[in-house]
């Protein structure tokens, strides 16, 4: 399984882990993963620690998620990025829309 999700202990944070490749193969699965969030969720975390590759489609998926969650109402954190992936996110200027850590 390349995509897995969990809630934080207090239920306020929704965490998505993407393992290996984050590309167009995950379009549907990714959208479904956040389609039914708990009402108490106040932020979303995408944990990239196991993500080796991303492509522009993944960037599109992240933007769609942001839009679907109210474009900033629920902050989205992109965390634990490898330097190269972080580089890609920053080239795409995602640091303006997401909290990259």
């Amino acid at each position: 399984m390349t995509l897995s999700t969990e809630y934080s202990n207090d239920g306020k944070q929704f965490i998505i882990h993407v393992k290996g490749k984050f590309d167009f193969g995950l379009v549907q699965q990714f959208r479904q993963s956040y389609g039914d969030l708990n009402a108490s969720t106040d932020s979303v975390v995408v944990d990239f620690r196991e993500t080796e590759y991303i492509d522009s489609c993944a960037l599109g998926m992240l933007l769609n998620m942001r839009k679907s969650l109210g474009a900033g109402d629920k902050p989205i954190h992109l965390v634990n990025c490898r330097p190269e992936i972080r580089n890609i996110l920053e080239i795409a200027r995602f640091d303006k829309l997401f909290h990259i850590d």
């Binding site: 809630y7 991303i54 492509d55 489609c57 960037l59 634990n80 330097p83 972080r86 920053e90």
Partner: protein, 558 residues
């Protein structure tokens, strides 16, 4: 029982040796102090009957020497004396005598005395035996402790307690600490810290620290998620430990930026968050059961996170700290918070703790870790890696059947990643190759229109359409040519498709305008442009060529 009789009077010796032999005991008779001393190592008496007045060395001088020769075991000495003056009796006792017998010798009394004193000697001998065994055991235990300590030191050799933003204090109650404090950097510039407190202390508690530290260091190297790490620790301890033993543990990961703390706390007292302005509050509450109790299927590995600022500190500690005795009972969390408003670093805090410890004995291990929430400064080295000196060129041609069934980008990148030095750039290579290949397939071969991707619904529809058209594909091909040029440190990628060609200028312009990152297409091309030193089209847009420098590209804005 062996009885040594020392008397200068023949009649006394005869009488006494007859009596002693008559009781069934072995005896040896000598007639002066010197002979008695000489007989000691050979005869090894259990009791000595010693005359006080003898020519040469008298009984009072002989007694202490005989006692000394008794090899550390109590040797009862019964003085034979006709005298009943008190001073002589006192002198006899002072010289080490244990009892007296005087003439006329009463057989019953002599036998009773011999037995009573022999009992004492036997008791003393068994005590000496036990002392010897105890000394042997304690030296063995000490040796074994040394061995275990050695293993421990080796297993903790990697422990990064010197991490500059971490200050620790450990005060074990015994040689081995029931507390475990581990620190290790992750591959992403992140830092992991684990504080554990085993039930009990000493060797048995410390043994469990071995599997924990192994798991910790291995998974820290892998950059594992906090939840996965505690799950694995729990699984190992559940397997290994007896049911009445477990490990309260707090695992935290601080991100490279030093702003995000992710944690799992099972049974460790809540940490204290010390804000830059000196305000102290409780954080990282223990929401879970300790490690080693639950089976893997029951185990709850959910983590929580905390955002911190750059001048914040976190104090982690085991319950030994808040259970420190005070005048009113024990310190408690409120007492600790009170102390924390008065100190600014670990040195001051541990000094205060030591002061408190001086007054009353320590009951439990006390371990503390003071973590300053700053950027870790552990980011991986970004110097260019050495590349394989062998350049190569490879061409892949995919026909319709392969376009449908094979994702060439994955395969090519995983092959390239095995070449010396290229692995470090695999994410970069992947995205460039993927974008160029996808462009060729999506636009050149499948004639998909990127503008469809502008809405979220369209985004998905686009990829559905992509699937449909790909499945229906009859003709078409894509050719990918890779050139690895180690001298120039670059990888050239040339992709040609069988399509009609397209005008890349429109997308490229769109991409450049897309500085808000909100335009749904052209993003891929923009990424390629940023990651390559040269990007060009020819053949009416059917062939795209990209030269990719193999170096880490500076981030924008840095």
């Amino acid at each position: 029982m062996r009885v040594l009789i020392v008397d200068d009077l023949d009649s006394n010796r005869l009488l006494l040796s007859d009596m002693v032999s008559g009781f069934g005991y072995q005896c040896l008779s000598v007639d002066d102090g010197e002979s008695a001393i000489a007989a000691m190592p050979i005869f090894q008496p259990d009791i000595v009957l010693l005359d006080v007045l003898m020519p040469g060395r008298n009984g009072l001088d002989t007694a202490p020497i005989l006692k000394d020769l008794a090899a550390g075991v109590h040797l009862p000495i019964i003085f034979i004396t006709a005298l009943d003056d008190q001073q002589t009796l006192i002198n006899c006792l002072a010289a080490g005598g244990d009892d007296f017998i005087s003439k006329p010798f009463a057989s019953v009394v002599l036998e009773a005395k011999l037995r009573a004193h022999y009992r004492n000697r036997e008791l003393n001998m068994s005590l000496a035996e036990k002392n010897k065994a105890l000394a042997y055991h304690s030296s063995r235990v000490e040796r074994e402790h040394q061995i275990v300590e050695h293993i421990f030191q080796n297993s903790l050799a990697r422990n990064y307690l010197d991490y500059p933003n971490l200050h620790t204090y450990l005060s074990p109650m015994s040689m081995f600490n029931g507390d475990v404090l581990l620190a290790a950097p992750g591959p992403l510039g992140n830092m992991y810290i684990f504080l554990g407190d085993f039930t009990g202390h000493g060797l048995s508690a410390a043994v469990g620290a071995l599997p924990i530290s192994q798991t910790f260091f291995r998974m820290a190297d892998e950059g594992a998620a906090v939840g996965d790490m505690v799950r694995e620790m729990n699984r190992r301890l559940h397997e290994l430990l007896p049911t009445d033993m477990f490990l309260a543990g707090l695992l935290l990961e601080i991100s490279a930026s030093g702003e995000r703390v992710t944690y799992w706390n099972g049974g460790i007292p809540p940490a204290q968050l010390i804000r830059g302005n000196g305000k102290v509050s409780t954080a990282l509450a223990p929401d879970h059961l300790a490690l080693g109790i639950m089976s893997d299927s029951e185990f709850d590995s959910r983590v929580a996170s905390l955002r911190v600022e750059h001048d914040d500190s976190l104090l982690l500690y085991t319950d030994g700290l808040i259970e420190l005795p005070t005048a009113k009972g024990w310190l408690g969390i409120a007492g600790l918070q009170d102390i924390l408003t008065q100190v600014t670093n670990m040195g001051e805090l541990s000094q205060l703790v030591r002061q408190r410890l001086r007054h009353k004995p320590q009951r439990d291990d006390v371990s503390m870790a003071w973590l300053r929430c700053k950027p870790t400064g552990l980011q991986r080295d970004s110097r260019p890696v050495d590349l394989s000196p062998l350049g190569f060129e490879a061409t892949f041609e995919l026909q319709a059947a392969e376009l449908k069934s094979v994702n060439p980008v994955n395969r090519i990148v995983s092959t390239l990643a095995n070449i010396e030095g290229l692995g470090a750039y695999k994410s970069q290579i992947f995205i460039v190759l993927q974008e160029i290949y996808n462009n060729a397939v999506e636009h050149g071969i499948l004639h998909l229109d990127s503008s469809l991707k502008q809405s979220s619904e369209g985004f998905e529809a686009y990829y559905q359409l992509y699937q449909q058209r790909l499945e229906a594909l009859q003709d078409g091909w894509v050719r990918m040519k890779l050139q690895f040029q180690p001298k120039q440190r670059r990888l050239c990628i040339e992709v040609t498709d069988s399509g009609q060609g397209f005008c890349p200028i429109r997308s490229a312009t769109a991409a450049l305008d897309a500085d808000t990152a909100d335009t749904e297409y052209g993003r891929g091309l923009n990424l390629v442009r940023e990651l390559s030193s040269h990007l060009s089209w020819r053949d009416n847009g059917r062939t795209v060529r990209c030269e990719m420098p193999l170096q880490r590209i500076d981030r924008r804005g840095d």
